[in-house]
């Protein structure tokens, strides 16, 4: 069911003014910058209207609090809602070791990180780094690899362990190890003299069950992300993303923006998901999470990843039917694709508007691209032809040595990360009751996240440090309104 322009208007009558405002401004800009090249809606498709207050387009939901990331996009069909609802239950429910009385949920492990998707992405939100040095890792996991002896630039799986430390296991199979983190404080100063403190993490792995780890081990810590609007990101036309790519930095603004091509030798598909854009679609991300994080096989990954030497693991797993059916995997994927993006708060607050100006002034938008128009999703019309405001280009950027994991991932170098989408970021606290940001949750809030920016984002960071306090706060308020 596609909503016509009319029904969109009638759903939110009070906002007509703003839509029109945005549209008029848009057309004016278009005229101003390239006079004759204005193309509004030429095809038979209904015209969508850009409205930054509704960052997820027509499906945007109005919700704050613990459920802010958990609602389905508005405007899905009854059938889609059914799939969404069942997918939600699959996402939240703990899997159990086979054999069990609840036959639909057996197959956990042999090795795993947690027993449900919802353990790491609590309420579809962001995981938390451990609260203290002795706490277990839950929403944070460690990917690992080691340079190939023959070709040190190539990363390969770690013998005996694979590409991820799995800290839990079923009875009778040893877990791989226990990750730990400790933080060192570093301090700095804004130009106006105000000081700040950042937490710089060091990761170690204890209780190794399958032999020593190599000395030149590379560790990439990754925090579970909030999961709103993924279907929309999935639907942005590849060409629109590549239009922003500037791998050689031809416009010499210090910012490259590289696509992460995931095929052999840098071929398609294009990576979009994960902190290094190392998964091409929501479906593949889900199947990989099922296998890597929970030990559940699907038609996409029929074999467990028991490594050489993991004898108990190999014995515990017998290849029968896959543990999750294609039907359930598709329901889970429908759920992931349809989680709605929350409406912005304080959209017209003067301080927020000031912050938005600063955001563009100091060129945060060079990577955090405010807006795209989605293409067509053959299955879900709510995802199609939407103006969305995700604040990301989904491309890779060198973020400096401070954030580097030194663990290349497909085309992504050890210093590169995908620009993180900023939509929903102001609601992370509502949902997850913490405000830890960046790929490993080292930043406590938006301010620290910006202060970690370096490499290609060095100039933006330095501009931020130079800003008067009032503008810094306005900028942070703007980001938190997203």
């Amino acid at each position: 069911m596609f909503k016509s322009k009319q029904s969109f208007f009638s759903r939110r009558p009070s906002l007509v003014a703003i839509y029109l405002g945005g549209l008029v401004a848009f057309l004016l800009v278009s005229v101003a910058s390239t006079s004759s090249q204005v193309v509004a809606s030429t095809s038979s498709q209904p015209m969508s209207i850009a409205n930054a207050e509704y960052p997820g387009g027509q499906g945007t939901v109005t919700q704050v609090g613990g459920r802010a990331f958990s609602l389905p996009a508005l405007g899905i069909t009854d059938e889609q809602h059914k799939a969404f609802t069942v997918g939600n239950s699959i996402f939240r429910t703990n899997w159990v070791q086979a054999p069990a009385s609840v036959t639909t949920l057996q197959g956990l492990g042999p090795l795993f990180n947690t027993r449900s998707c919802g353990s790491c992405h609590q309420q579809d939100g962001r995981g938390s780094p451990p609260r203290s040095e002795r706490d277990e890792f839950v929403g944070l996991l460690l990917r690992i690899s080691v340079p190939d002896a023959k070709d040190p630039l190539r990363m390969i799986d770690v013998p005996g362990y694979g590409d991820q430390i799995q800290s839990q296991s079923i009875l009778g199979v040893p877990a791989e190890g226990t990750p730990r983190v400790s933080y060192k404080e570093i301090t700095g100063k804004f130009s106006d003299g105000e000081t700040f403190t950042l937490l710089s993490p060091t990761y170690t792995i204890e209780n190794l069950a399958y032999g020593d780890l190599p000395k030149n081990l590379r560790i990439s810590p990754r925090l579970a992300q909030q999961l709103v609007g993924l279907g929309l990101l999935d639907t942005i036309p590849e060409a629109a993303l590549l239009a922003n790519a500037d791998p050689e930095d031809r416009d010499s603004n210090g910012i490259s923006g590289r696509p992460n091509w995931l095929g052999p030798n840098g071929t398609a598909p294009l990576g979009r998901f994960g902190w290094k854009a190392n998964k091409p679609s929501v479906l593949e991300q889900d199947a990989a999470a099922l296998l890597g994080d929970m030990g559940i096989t699907t038609p996409l990954h029929k074999n467990q990843e028991c490594r050489e030497g993991q004898v108990a693991c190999q014995k515990a797993f017998s290849l029968k039917d896959t543990e999750m059916s294609m039907q359930d995997l598709l329901r889970l994927t429908a759920y992931m694709k349809l989680l709605g993006v929350p409406k912005r708060r304080g959209f017209l607050d003067p301080e927020v508007l000031q912050g938005e100006k600063v955001f563009h002034q100091i060129q945060c938008n060079q990577c955090h691209t405010p807006s795209f128009k989605t293409g067509v999703d053959p299955e879900f019309s709510v995802l199609s032809n939407q103006w969305i405001f995700p604040y990301t280009d989904l491309l890779l950027h060198d973020m400096g040595q401070g954030l580097a994991d030194d663990r290349p991932d497909h085309q992504a170098s050890g210093r590169e990360w995908r620009t993180a989408p900023l939509w929903g970021i102001g609601l992370v606290h509502d949902v997850s009751r913490h405000d830890r940001l960046l790929h490993d949750g080292r930043a406590r809030g938006v301010k620290e996240a910006i202060l970690w920016h370096d490499g290609e984002a060095k100039s933006a960071k330095e501009e931020f440090i130079k800003l008067p306090k009032k503008d810094r706060e306005a900028l942070i308020k703007f980001v938190n309104s997203l």
Partner: protein, 403 residues
């Protein structure tokens, strides 16, 4: 350069100038437009109706009275449950166990009505302080709490090494520790300890009182401690919610809001409960997955009664607290339709509770009629939520209801 709007506006990094202009212009335009908003609206769509502030204030008083009464009842019922469990734990027997189970059912029915006050960040589920996750989280992974079939040593109760002490504090910290279904507290944890796993196709779980008798089952002492602690926690959490209403702190907050926002909250509670929770998570999932354990009160087979009480809670806000009066003057037709739909759903669910079959039997039933009966209930719940949502839209209230 292509002739795509995206290239000119926000999507493009290279259109730096375009962006600045865009922003400057959109500021001007939006200022202009907000001045002339009325005019713009009347051209493109019907002007939204505004709520009558006096009507809303009067309603919020009635609503507050209703909520206060129902939370007070719920707290009293939970205290009664605590007493009965005290009795059971001191002298476990078939009789004391039945008394505790009956008290649980009464407490559960009372709580289910109050679920109509969830989903809007009120005292029950406020982002920072709401105890809902401790009170009512579901689904429950029972093997996290106690042994289950095939896993005789599983659960906190049987793991002395990892959980040396079982008391209120330790349970509090374990609940939702790593996973939404690691439910160590709340109604469903108590339910599991009283009834046990539901492995029977014809009735509820059949846990013996001897699980709580030393020498009859491993860790009986720890099972008793668990049951006691978890019930005291429930009472504590409900006290917190209850007092935020009784001492007037939350009602004051609600009334200080613009009428539009306050009504949007109250109504979001109603539509979310009927569409997402009752029809969605509680009925549709079970029906789709045909899984016996996928029901809300899966140990006691009490889900149908819960659902009925949920609907009563919704109906009370509409009828007893007279939410409909807020809309009656200008939307009398919608009001009549909604009243009719809410009662019809209530009747359908009521007839459910007189059924000889339980929820899980219906879910796995081979009889087509059972499925159709459930589908009719789901449809009715969807429809009542949609009607509420459509009426709300006229006032530009956003309730997140699927159309």
């Amino acid at each position: 350069m292509s002739t795509d709007l995206r290239q000119l506006g926000p999507g493009s990094r290279n259109a730096k100038v375009g962006w600045k202009l865009f922003y400057v212009l959109s500021f001007c335009v939006s200022t202009l437009m907000s001045v002339s908003a009325g005019a713009a609206e009347s051209k493109s769509a019907a002007k939204p109706k505004t709520l009558d502030a006096a009507e809303v204030a009067a309603f919020l008083d009635r609503y507050t009275d209703l909520v206060k009464k129902n939370y007070a009842d719920t707290l009293a019922a939970a205290k009664n449950l605590r007493d009965k469990i005290e009795g059971f734990v001191k002298a476990p027997s078939a009789e004391t166990q039945v008394a505790a189970k009956e008290a649980w059912k009464a407490a559960r029915l009372s709580y289910s009505k109050t679920e109509a006050y969830r989903f809007y960040g009120g005292p029950i589920d406020h982002a920072d302080t709401g105890p809902e996750g401790f009170i009512n989280a579901w689904p429950m992974d029972e093997s996290y709490v106690d042994s289950v079939k095939d896993l005789p040593k599983s659960g906190i109760i049987n793991d002395k090494q990892k959980f040396p002490k079982i008391d209120k504090e330790s349970l509090r910290s374990m609940n939702e520790k790593d996973g939404e279904t690691n439910i160590a507290t709340g109604y469903h944890a108590i339910e599991f300890l009283l009834w046990g796993q539901d492995l029977s196709a014809t009735g509820p779980g059949e846990r013996s009182y001897e699980d709580f008798v030393d020498g009859k089952k491993d860790n009986a002492d720890r099972r008793r401690q668990y049951l006691q602690a978890v019930t005291s926690l429930l009472v504590e959490d409900l006290e917190k919610v209850n007092s935020a209403w009784q001492d007037g702190s939350f009602p004051k907050e609600l009334k200080a809001m613009p009428p539009h926002d306050a009504i949007q909250k109250v109504m979001t509670g109603l539509t979310t409960l009927s569409f997402d929770e009752m029809a969605g998570e509680r009925m549709m999932v079970a029906l789709e997955k045909k899984d016996q354990e996928n029901e809300q009160d899966c140990f006691s087979d009490f889900s149908l009664n819960d659902l009925h009480a949920n609907q009563l809670g919704i109906l009370e806000v509409w009828q007893a607290a007279d939410l409909k009066k807020v809309f009656l003057k200008s939307e009398s037709k919608s009001v009549a339709k909604i009243s009719q739909e809410l009662s019809a759903s209530e009747k359908r669910l009521k007839s459910f509770t007189n059924f000889t079959k339980t929820f899980d039997q219906m879910v796995i039933s081979k009889d087509k009629k059972d499925r159709q009966t459930m589908e009719a209930v789901i449809k009715g719940l969807h429809s009542q939520a949609r009607s509420l949502g459509q009426m709300a839209k006229v006032y530009s209230l956003e309730l997140n209801v699927q159309e």
